[in-house]
């Protein structure tokens, strides 16, 4: 209990609580359950991607291609819907997930088999995936009136008062809580990132574990790709441009150590919620949305500074790494 109180998660719960209280003091309508549910639903894509990104960062990698993956999958789904309006949503979901997984696997293969640094791989694939959208669409938009009602209706379909998009985010969060805590793969993510050499001696394949993380991150990006395009009922080359930074920001704010091996999915989800609340509150309290980029940037910087101090105080590091001394 006392460790929880000192944890990043508890700090974030406190910060989010204070933030909501501060907004509520001036704008009580913001904290009404219906509006909070709307904020949650609006943050769902960020939360889903933050889950995938967390697993990738745990293994000492980073995936900057998630937004481009999302946009390309979304465009393919939209074009598929236009070309074959009778195709059921289930098939489109399958296509989205498969395509996303393939793009994640491409990143993963380059990291695993060719040991290219993940930041280089995903910086590269980020532009390649984004460019392919232009190639297949010719720069044209797919607009709401071209999509079928079933296609755009799926993420908004309500169940027990919450839209499907929110339920999907909750289901994925629940699934990966179990995966991260109670499966060999989930523990491998932590082991590989915490100490790759020790992981090898334990019989873990470091590259393959990183590959698995990239595939999961890609799969979730693909899924969000369809949900995003369907929810906003539009697909074009630049959708979700720069969203990868917001995803990384959510993870860093959530206390996922960029050096790998430490951090919880709950932290990443709270980090995403924190950003989502700020994003939705800005227009309510009358601050220009142009402030958002600077706010998330400052949040990242503050979070890493706090993270570094916490790591030092905890005394977790037994053998100092070379860079830490330098």
């Amino acid at each position: 209990m006392s460790t929880f109180l000192k944890s990043r998660e508890a700090l974030l719960v406190l910060v989010i609580g204070l933030l909501l209280a501060a907004i509520a003091s001036r704008f009580p309508a913001f904290v009404e359950p219906a509006n909070l549910a709307r904020v949650f639903n609006d943050t769902a894509p960020l939360m889903i991607l933050a889950i995938g990104q967390t697993l990738v960062i745990l293994t000492r990698c980073i995936d900057l291609s998630v937004a481009a993956n999302l946009a390309l999958t979304g465009m393919v789904c939209a074009m598929l819907n236009v070309a074959a309006p009778d195709l059921p949503v289930a098939v489109i979901l399958l296509v989205a997930v498969t395509l996303g997984a393939l793009m994640g696997a491409f990143n993963g293969i380059l990291v695993w088999k060719l040991s290219i640094p993940p930041i280089v791989v995903t910086l590269g694939t980020m532009t390649i995936y984004r460019g392919i959208i232009f190639l297949i669409s010719g720069g044209a938009w797919v607009n709401a009136h071209e999509m079928t009602a079933a296609f755009t209706g799926f993420p908004r379909a309500e169940l027990f008062g919450l839209p499907a998009l929110s339920w999907i985010a909750l289901a994925i969060a629940a699934l990966f809580f179990v995966v991260a805590r109670a499966t060999p793969l989930g523990r491998a993510f932590y082991a590989v990132g915490g100490n790759p050499h020790a992981a090898v001696y334990t019989g873990l394949n470091v590259g393959r574990t990183q590959f698995a993380a990239f595939v999961i991150s890609g799969t979730l990006s693909g899924l969000v790709g369809y949900l995003w395009v369907a929810r906003y009922s539009v697909a074009y080359v630049d959708i979700a441009a720069g969203f990868e930074l917001e995803v990384v920001a959510a993870c860093v704010i959530g206390g996922i150590a960029i050096a790998g091996g430490a951090g919880t999915l709950m932290g990443a989800l709270l980090g995403a919620l924190f950003l989502g609340i700020i994003k939705n509150a800005l227009p309510v309290i009358g601050i220009s949305p142009f402030w958002q980029l600077a706010i998330s940037g400052s949040a990242i910087v503050i979070a890493v500074v706090l993270g570094a101090r916490a790591a030092r105080a905890k005394g977790r590091i037994i053998l100092k790494r070379a860079e830490a001394q330098a």
């Binding site: 280089v120 590269g124 390649i128 460019g131 392919i132 190639l135 920001a249 142009f290 910087v301 330098a326």
Partner: protein, 330 residues
């Protein structure tokens, strides 16, 4: 580099043979090949003024790439360079609205660049934070400040003399920017390959602990490198703002990728420890020629970015695939 055992040869190859097999020679051959191909593909390529225009595709990015190369050799990275350009350009634009003169604008551009570099450097070296995360954060922060100041507006109305930096010509088709690029290339060549400071950069990149124990002030060297990267971004901001004549918060969006690509294409090891300025110079020409040639063939910008992305992955992947293939055969 790729896990295969290295053996120490009984005798080294002659310097000439090594130079012939070097990355720089290969890159130069690629540059010549692209030049010849472009000359054949488009009748408009071999024209002094067109070629002069083409240099603007890479001069500003290359200036940053020189400092970035040293930073990456030392084992760090700065992803905030394009955002520093945005912030410096916004600051210059704001000053221009208050009727600041050209020297003041230049000082502001350089000053903002240095301040941003110092901020990054202090966080990375002072607090021992990983440079990737810090600069991803400051990348949002610096550009975010530009968005706060400008929103969807733009600054225009720079003083007349200010246009010289991005649009002026020193002699015939030789632009001011190209001359600046050449001078900076020379300066950075001397710093990296001919001074103790340059040796220290390689030492740090290869073994930071070893460097520290041999008396190199590792944190100070890294801090200076962040300062230099910020300063070069400031210089690039002056040139770019002068060339465009206006400032929007989206200025130079995505340039950090092209700068890193240029550095990696130039043969700098992304993990640190090796690389050269001549390599980066040739890589700048290669990228400039590719984008210019594709532009003459009416290839849209976003398709060019696919080439840049494939180039970035390809130049690292191909040598490794080649090494794996050779190891398989042996």
């Amino acid at each position: 580099m790729n896990g295969t055992a290295r053996h120490i040869p009984d005798r080294l190859e002659s310097p000439a043979a090594r130079a012939l097999k070097s990355w720089e020679t290969l890159l130069l051959a690629v540059a010549v090949a692209i030049f010849v191909f472009n000359s054949l593909a488009s009748p408009y390529f071999l024209n002094a003024w067109n070629l002069s225009d083409a240099t603007f595709n890479f001069t500003e990015k290359a200036m940053i790439a020189f400092a970035m190369a040293m930073l990456i050799i030392a084992g760090e990275i700065d992803l905030s360079v394009a955002s520093i350009i945005a912030l410096a350009s916004t600051a210059m634009g704001a000053a221009a609205q208050l009727d600041a003169g050209v020297p003041v604008l230049v000082l502001i551009g350089l000053g903002v660049g240095l301040a941003c570099g110092a901020f990054n450097g202090a966080l990375v070296t002072g607090l021992g934070l990983p440079s990737i995360v810090v600069t991803i954060g400051t990348m949002s922060l610096f550009r975010g400040i530009s968005y706060i100041v400008l929103g969807d507006q733009a600054f225009r109305g720079y003083p007349p003399g200010f246009s010289y930096f991005g649009q002026g010509y020193v002699f015939w088709v030789i632009s001011f920017e190209f001359v600046l690029f050449a001078i900076l290339a020379l300066i950075y060549y001397v710093i990296l390959h001919r001074t103790n400071f340059g040796r220290a950069i390689f030492a740090i990149g290869n073994n930071p602990t070893g460097a520290l124990f041999s008396g190199i002030r590792v944190a100070r060297v890294k801090f200076i490198l962040f300062l230099l990267t910020g300063l070069m971004s400031g210089i690039a901001a002056i040139c770019l703002t002068s060339r465009l004549g206006s400032t929007r918060p989206s200025i130079a969006f995505g340039w950090e990728l092209e700068v890193v690509t240029m550095v990696v294409l130039g043969g700098v090891n992304i993990l640190g420890g090796s690389g050269s300025i001549p390599g980066v110079v040739i890589a700048a020409f290669v990228m400039g020629l590719v984008t210019f040639g594709l532009g003459l063939l009416n290839v849209p910008g976003i398709v060019m970015s696919i080439f840049i992305g494939m180039l970035l992955i390809g130049v690292i992947a191909l040598p490794r695939l080649w090494a794996m293939w050779r190891a398989d055969r042996a």
